[in-house]
Symmetry: C2
Subunit: 251 residues, 2 copies
C-alpha cells in the first residue's frame, strides 16, 4: 500500500482521453470487453509470453513477414493473412505458450496510440477484475480508465465494466472520485450487476456480434476472475506486470 490518495478518471472513448486529466504519475487501464482486453487477459492466463499491439493491419502484415504469429480482426472478421482472430477462445491453445503474438483490432489496440508510449497501460476486463483491483491499489498511482468504445463512440459494455472496476477500487479508502464520468459508470454498473448478461444484451455491439454470428464469446467475456493476471503495455510491448515494474514510483 502506498498510503497516498489515488484519483480516478474515466474516458468513455479514446477521443475524450486527455493527458492533463490526472497529475502524474498515473496508469491507464484499457477496457475493450468485446473483445480485445478479454482476449489479452486470456492469452496471458494461458501462457503467452508477450503481445505487441499494432494499430494498423499494414503493420501486422509486416510482422507476419518477419515470422511473428498474428492475431487480427476488423469489424469482427479475421483478415486472411492473420493466424488468429479476436475471440478469447483463439488464445487458449497450448501451442501459444511462451510465444509473442502481434495483435491488431478495430478498437482495442488503436486506443494505445492516443495514450502514447511513455505511460503504462494495464489491461482490464471482467476476467481479471479482482487481480487488477488489488494490483492498482498496491501500485498507488492515479488511475485513468480508458474505454475503447466502438469506432470512437460510447459503448455500454466497456462503461459498465469501468463502473465495476471503480466500485471495486472504492474498497480502498485511498481512492478519490470527483469525476462525473466515473460516477455515471458506477451507477450504470449498479443497475446492470444483478443481471449483467441481460443488461448488456441490448447494447449495439452485442447486436452487431449476434448478426455476425460472433456472440459465442459474450458469456465468457462476462465471467469474473477466470484470468488472474495483470498484463501491462510498456514501450510498445505487453507483458505480465510484476512488482518491480512499478517499484520506482515509491519514494
Amino acid at each position: 500500500m502506498s498510503g497516498k490518495e489515488q484519483k480516478l478518471e474515466l474516458a468513455f472513448t479514446p477521443l475524450l482521453f486527455r493527458h492533463d486529466a490526472l497529475s502524474a504519475p498515473y496508469v491507464v487501464v484499457l477496457i475493450d470487453i468485446l473483445r480485445a482486453t478479454t482476449s489479452i487477459c486470456t492469452a496471458f492466463a494461458h501462457g503467452v509470453e508477450a503481445m505487441i499491439p499494432v494499430a494498423s493491419l499494414e503493420e501486422a502484415r509486416h510482422y507476419k513477414e518477419w515470422g511473428y504469429i498474428i492475431a487480427a480482426e476488423r469489424e469482427g472478421i479475421k483478415p486472411d493473412f492473420a493466424d488468429l482472430g479476436n475471440s478469447a477462445f483463439h488464445f487458449m491453445k497450448p501451442k501459444l505458450r511462451g510465444k509473442t503474438i502481434v495483435y491488431s483490432t478495430t478498437n482495442g489496440t488503436q486506443a494505445f496510440s492516443v495514450v502514447g508510449y511513455t505511460i503504462d497501460v494495464v489491461i482490464g476486463a471482467f476476467v481479471n477484475l479482482s487481480t487488477l483491483t488489488k494490483w492498482l491499489i498496491e501500485d498507488g498511482r492515479n488511475i485513468y480508465l480508458l474505454c475503447a468504445g466502438w469506432k470512437g463512440n460510447f459503448n455500454l459494455e466497456d462503461t459498465v465494466f469501468a463502473g465495476a472496476l471503480a466500485a471495486s477500487l472504492m474498497q480502498s479508502s485511498q481512492i478519490i472520485i470527483q469525476s462525473d464520468a466515473v460516477m455515471a459508470s458506477i451507477d450504470l454498473w449498479n443497475l446492470a450487476k444483478n443481471n449483467l448478461a441481460e443488461y448488456l444484451l441490448k447494447t449495439e455491439h452485442s447486436q452487431r456480434l449476434k448478426r455476425l454470428g460472433l456472440d459465442d464469446v459474450i458469456p465468457y467475456s462476462l465471467t469474473f476472475d477466470t484470468c488472474p493476471v495483470v498484463p501491462v503495455a510498456r514501450n510498445g510491448m505487453i507483458r505480465l506486470a510484476t512488482q518491480t515494474n512499478h517499484e520506482h514510483f515509491y519514494d
Copy 2:
C-alpha cells in the same frame, strides 16, 4: 405528426458529435443545463426577440462596439465589458423585451461551431421539456441530442436531461433508439428523476458553481416547463421556432 420513424442519437460532448451519425434531415438539440440553454429558454419566455451565439469573447466585444446587448461568461464569471452574465435570472428583465442579445459562454455557445450553420439547433432544458418534446415529434426529423459538457468532458446534468428528453420522446411510437449513449442516459434519468436535485448535487459542475457562489440558479434550472418555448438557431441566429420553420421537411 409526420408518421415517419425518427431516430435518436446522443453525443455526450461536442468532441463526440459526428455529422454522419444520423441520416438527414436531422435536427440537433443543444443541452447545457448549467447554464446556457436554461438561460436561452428563459430569455425567450420573457420576450427577448433574438439571440446571436458567438464562440469567442473577442467576437462578443466587436458586437458590443456595434451597440448590441452582450451576455457573456467564462468559468462562471461575467467579463467586465458584458451587460449580462450567464444566470437565467439575468434574462428575466422587462427592458430586454423585443431586444437582440449577443451571447457567449464557456461551453454552450461553443457547441454551435461543431454543428455548423446548415443544421437547425433547437435549445433544450428542463424548463422547456414538454414543449420541446411535442415540437420534436411534430417536426418529424431525426434527433441528435448534443450535450455541451464541461470543456469537452462528459457531465451528468446534461446527460440526465438528455435521458429525460429521450424518455419523454418515447411516448411517441415513431421514435427509434439503437444507441448505447441514449440507453445509458435514460437509465441515468430513471435513477435521478425521483430526487433530481439531490442526485445532481454530487456533480462536478454543481460543486464548481457552489465554490463560485453561483449555485443560486440550480433549483430554477431543474424546474419543469416554466418556459413553454422552442428557441431554434438557424443561420447563426436564435429565434422562436414556428411551424412554418420546418414546413419544407414534409412532402
